[in-house]
Symmetry: C2
Subunit: 332 residues, 2 copies
């Protein structure tokens, strides 16, 4: 039981292979009547074009690529990726695109994959994650003229992201409304583009704020928390760049004899089941990560199909109020 090819369809329809190709790809060159007949036959035979042959002939590979730079230390951001991939697939599968995934040790290798996959026509476009402030990958993609979309802050390439500055202001203003004036930000990896944006926004909304960099792990989150809690004018509220660190921070606060939210308020950026499960349940900045994926996929596919594709701004992360934030009880 071999799969049908365009040759089979051509024989059945009494036309040439070329005509079949034109008909199935919506190209001019066949009459509407013939086209309909060919499409009907293709459908009846359950025809699916071979992507290998397609790619070889220089057409669409029907695959988009995603390379992830994942040092073992950033395990904490994992839920983000599964949600993202899930959202990506939701869009890709409707257009029968597949996702080619590759873990890479560094940016250098990542760019090598871009080049290899692209020259081999193995992918029609690339998605870029974990955008850095000065990201070598962007230049590589532009040089190679690979259709690409960024899942991250807007820049030279079309992107899908939300305005983190707005969310940061929301968080700071909320804390301010509770009477907090001494706020610290436990930030993520400092060379990630969105980390810089959040920090800038934080310092603008709260000029006297403290910022400590981490690598997203629970350990570094705990260490950063200890550091800021040991200062003279210890902050009364903390904003963490992920949920893992926020939970670790809660433990450190308890250890220091502080009660939450009475002595210390805590906000986590990115909500996850953990935030609502721990005690106290964490107030968090939540956002629809799946939507990032879906929209990034749509953006990239538009780009591949030659359509106009502009960066897209997602709904900013917004606060979900739980039990880890409360009125400031500390008098200055």
């Amino acid at each position: 039981m071999k799969r049908p090819t365009i040759a089979d369809i051509a024989r059945e329809a009494g036309v040439s292979k070329g005509a079949v190709s034109y008909a199935l790809n919506g190209q001019p060159g066949v009459s509407d009547q013939t086209r309909r007949r060919i499409i009907a036959i293709a459908h009846r035979l359950g025809f699916q074009a071979s992507t290998a042959a397609r790619a070889l002939a220089g057409a669409r590979a029907k695959v988009i690529g995603l390379t992830l730079h994942r040092p073992p230390r950033t395990l904490g951001v994992e839920p983000f990726f599964m949600e993202l991939i899930s959202g990506l697939e939701a869009e890709l599968s409707t257009q029968s695109y597949a996702l080619l995934l590759q873990m890479v040790p560094d940016h250098h290798e990542e760019i090598a994959y871009y080049r290899r996959w692209w020259t081999e026509r193995r992918v029609d476009g690339m998605l870029v994650c974990d955008l850095r402030t000065h990201d070598a990958r962007i230049r590589a993609l532009k040089e190679l003229a690979i259709p690409a979309a960024v899942i991250g802050p807007p820049g030279e390439l079309p992107s899908v992201w939300s305005d983190d500055a707005v969310s940061m202001v929301e968080a700071v203003e909320y804390l301010a409304s509770l009477g907090h004036t001494r706020i610290a930000r436990i930030a993520g990896l400092p060379d990630l583009a969105h980390t810089a944006i959040r920090t800038e926004s934080f310092l603008k909304a709260c000029p006297q704020g403290i910022v400590v960099a981490t690598d997203y792990t629970a350990e570094s989150g705990a260490r950063a928390t200890r550091r800021v809690l040991n200062t003279h004018d210890r902050p009364t509220a903390l904003i963490y760049d992920n949920d893992i660190m926020a939970v670790a921070g809660v433990a450190v606060a308890y250890e220091a004899g502080l009660s939450i939210p009475d002595d210390l308020s805590i906000i986590a950026w990115d909500d996850s089941p953990i935030c609502s499960l721990v005690h106290p349940a964490l107030t968090a900045l939540t956002r629809d990560i799946g939507a990032y994926g879906t929209h990034a996929a749509r953006l990239l596919l538009d780009l591949i199909n030659g359509a106009e594709a502009r960066s897209r701004s997602e709904q900013p992360a917004h606060l979900v109020f739980r039990d880890s934030t409360g009125r400031c009880r500390v008098t200055p």
Copy 2:
């Protein structure tokens, strides 16, 4: 700057394309001297064979496929997949294999992908996850004669898994050694093969034990916990099938006025950062999920290369002792 093809190498070396193909693939048909010369030239030109052309000509596609059946409700098992994929890639990338990933709504669609990818030579083999007790995919894979490896309990296809029965016995015996006699198991999805195995082992080690089925979500875990804690002879220890449910269970226990571990001991199956971050830190059955991926990939690649490939037994999950388990204080 086009990528080099075997034709370029052939011209450079003054031989035919066929000779180059033989030389690069380690096939007989060229002298050792010529082979070395050709390989040297290929290396100098930075030659990388086009997988599309390869696949079209009926050879290896250098891709293995993974389809994930992911109803939105089983979000809780996500960390498993990222670790697994990470482990897979570790092995695949050394052999320059890529991973083709597809989310599917159901088994029916999943099998359709098997058929499509295989007849199209888009993949050289498939990995199977989330094995069910009677899994239609296994038959489909055998019928299509697709090289495949299962990440799950051993069965008809070569598999990579650990003996969950052993781990379950370890957990039950540990609880028994602490004096617990009334133990409940908050199980995962009942039609998953490993769930059945764990339940069977649990009931064998603890015949008077209670088993409650869930769908892995925090909500169903909480509900199951409430149910077993409301029984007449309420259990003094609970074993959860994932970490999310265990954490949710802790909250339910607190809500019921129970203290952990004094009134109730809790064990989570599968360790994750959450387990060590919550209060009290959870005693957990930990295992190296990345190793599952690495070994499954190796198994599948062996299979694809025609080597003998037998199922592989991983190190069973073993207990990590934390603060959620303690001596039974309840007198019968």
